[in-house]
Amino acid sequence: MALYSEKVMEHFRNPQNAGEIADADGVGVAGNSRCGDIMKIYLKIDGGVVADVKFETFGCGSAIASSSMATEMIKGKPLTEVLQLTNQAVAEVLDGLPPHKLHCSVLAEEAVKAAVKDYCDKNNMEYPQKEK
C-alpha cells in the first residue's frame, strides 16, 4: 500500500519488542479505545539505562509501527536521552507518516514519557521536565 512508507510497513509487519515485561520498572499508557489507539510501553531500567523495553498497541498500522520504532530508538539509552525523544523524530525515522497519522507518533512519545514518569514516581525520583 502506498499509504505508508516501506519503513512503516516493515515495522508493522515485523514489530520489534512487542509484548510485555511482567516485572517492569515503569509502565506508560497513551491514547484511548474511543479514538482507536492505545499504546502501552514497559521499561526495565538498569543503572539509569533502558535495559529492556516492550510495547503493546491497539491501533492502526502506523500506531503499531510507531510503537515498534520508538522502542528501538530508546533501547539501551540512558533515561536522560530517552526523554529527548520527540514525535517528529519517530515520524522521521519511519520515513514520514501521512498527515492524519502523525498523532500515532505523538502517542508513542507520550507513552514512552509516561513510562519514564512511572519509573521516577515509583523510585521517588524527580521526573525531569523537558527544557524548552
Binding site: 474511543r34 479514538c35 482507536g36 503493546e56 491497539f58 491501533g59 497519522k101
Partner: protein, 394 residues
C-alpha cells in the same frame, strides 16, 4: 489476489467494455449534432436509456444520466426539497446511516433552513415503514431512505416505505447504488419517485450513473449549460460510458437470480466461519442483507491494521475504522446501529460478487482468524479483557 471489496467498486465486465469501444473511435459524434454521425450517437444514447429503464421498471424519459450515484443523490434531494420549499414545505426525513452523498446534501439543506429528521436505525440495520409514517408531517417535502446499506448490507423495506409516502403524498427518493443489479428493483411496483444508481457497482464503468425521476417530478439542474438530458443535466453526454452502463446492467439483471443463490451460499459460509472467532459480531440483519455482504466487528483490534495484514495476504477488503476514513470518528453506520466507538474501530467488510469462488472464501476463512489473533496478541485492550481487568463488550 482475492477481491472482496465489490461494494467499493467492481471489475468492469468484458460485455460492458466491448459495448463501449465502438463509441470511442467509430461512433464518436456529439449526440447534439445534426449530421448522421451525431445522430447515430443520439440513437445509441436513447436505446441505452430504454434498456436501463426496462431493468428498473421505469420509462426511458424518466432516466437522466449523471456522473454517478453521488450526483444523482444530490440532484434528487435538492430538487425535491426546493420544490417542496416553493409550497412552504421544509421538512425532510432520512436515516442516520445514509451514504455521505445523501447526508452531506441534507446538511446543505439544513443550512438553507430546512429541518432534517434522521430516523434512528435498529440494531439489525433496519428502518421500518412505521417509523416513516410516524415522522411524516404536513410540511414534509421529501423522504430519502437508502435501498441497501453500503457498509452493513441491510436491505430496507423500500416498497413499504414507498407505500407510506404515496399515501401521505410525499415524494420518496431511494439511494439504490448498492441495490441496482443485486436486488430486484421495480420503481413503479415499489412506489419510488426518485432513485439513484451507479454503473461501477454492477460491473459498469466508473464516472457514470443515472437518476430515475418519475414523470411529473420537477428536477433542478446542478450543472448549467446546454440542453442535454432534457435541460436537466448540461454537458456533452459520455456516450461510451452510458453504453457500458446499459450493457453491464442488462447483464447483471439477467444473471442476478442465478448468481444470487450461489452468492448467498458463499456469504452464509463466510458468516458461519467468521462467527467462530470469539468476541465477534455480525453487523446488519442476518437474512435481509445484500447477497454478497459480510460485515463483522472483532473486539480488541483496529480495522486498518487488519486490512493491512489481509492486503499482505492478497485479500482486498474494507473497514469502517476511523483510520481508514481519514477522520477521527469510526463509521457513522456502525455507530447508528449502536456499536460503541471501540467496537466500531474493529470492523471488517467483505463484499463478494459473482466472480468470487468457494476456494477464495475458504482462503479468507483461513487468513482472517490468524490476522485477528495476531493483532489481539499485541493489543493491550485485548489483554485487559482476557485477564478480566476490563469487561468484554461482545
Amino acid at each position: 489476489m482475492i477481491y472482496a471489496d465489490n461494494a467499493a467498486t467492481t471489475r468492469m465486465s468484458s460485455t460492458a467494455m466491448e459495448a463501449m469501444l465502438p463509441y470511442m473511435r467509430e461512433i464518436f459524434g456529439n449526440p447534439s449534432s445534426l449530421y448522421g454521425a451525431g445522430q447515430k450517437a443520439a440513437e445509441a444514447l436513447w436505446s441505452a436509456r430504454e434498456r436501463i429503464a426496462a431493468c428498473i421498471g421505469a420509462l426511458p424519459q424518466e432516466i437522466y444520466f449523471t456522473s454517478g450515484g453521488s450526483e444523482a443523490d444530490n440532484q434528487a434531494i435538492l430538487s425535491a426539497a426546493h420544490s417542496g420549499e416553493r409550497k412552504g414545505k421544509k421538512h425532510v426525513i432520512s436515516t442516520a446511516f445514509e451514504h455521505h452523498a445523501v447526508l452531506h446534501t441534507l446538511q446543505k439543506l439544513e443550512k438553507e433552513g430546512f429541518t432534517v429528521e434522521l430516523l434512528p436505525v435498529h440494531e439489525n440495520g433496519m428502518v421500518y415503514p412505521e417509523q416513516v409514517a410516524e415522522a411524516v408531517r404536513e410540511d414534509t417535502c421529501l423522504v430519502t431512505i437508502m435501498y441497501a446499506n453500503n457498509e452493513i448490507g441491510s436491505v430496507l423495506p423500500v416498497a413499504e416505505i414507498g407505500a407510506v409516502c404515496l399515501e401521505r403524498k410525499v415524494p420518496f427518493h431511494t439511494d439504490a447504488v448498492q441495490a441496482v443489479g443485486h436486488l430486484p428493483v421495480h420503481v413503479k411496483e415499489q412506489n419510488i419517485d426518485l432513485l439513484s444508481l451507479s454503473a461501477h457497482k454492477f460491473h459498469g464503468p466508473k464516472g457514470i450513473g443515472a437518476l430515475y425521476a418519475r414523470r411529473g417530478m420537477a428536477l433542478e439542474s446542478l450543472i448549467a449549460g446546454g440542453a442535454q438530458e432534457r435541460g436537466k443535466r448540461a454537458g456533452t453526454e459520455n456516450v461510451a460510458a452510458v453504453m457500458g452502463m446499459a450493457a453491464a446492467l442488462e447483464e447483471t439483471c439477467r444473471e442476478r437470480e442465478k448468481n444470487q443463490e450461489r452468492l448467498i451460499r458463499l456469504r452464509t459460509r463466510l458468516i458461519e466461519g467468521l462467527s467462530q472467532i470469539p468476541h465477534s459480531i455480525l453487523n446488519g440483519d442476518a437474512d435481509k442483507r445484500l447477497p454478497g455482504n459480510v460485515n463483522f466487528c472483532f473486539e480488541g483490534i483496529e480495522g486498518e491494521s487488519l486490512l493491512l495484514l489481509l492486503d499482505d495476504e492478497g485479500i482486498c477488503a474494507s473497514s469502517g475504522s476511523a483510520c481508514t476514513s481519514g477522520s477521527l470518528a469510526p463509521s457513522h453506520v456502525l455507530l447508528a446501529i449502536g456499536r460503541s466507538h471501540e467496537i466500531a474501530h474493529g470492523s471488517l467488510r467483505l463484499s463478494l460478487d459473482a466472480d468470487n469462488t468457494e476456494e477464495e472464501v475458504e482462503q479468507i476463512l483461513k487468513i482472517v482468524p490468524k490476522a485477528v489473533e495476531r493483532l489481539r496478541n499485541i493489543s493491550p485492550l485485548w489483554k485487559e479483557k482476557i485477564s478480566g481487568k476490563l469487561r468484554f463488550i461482545l
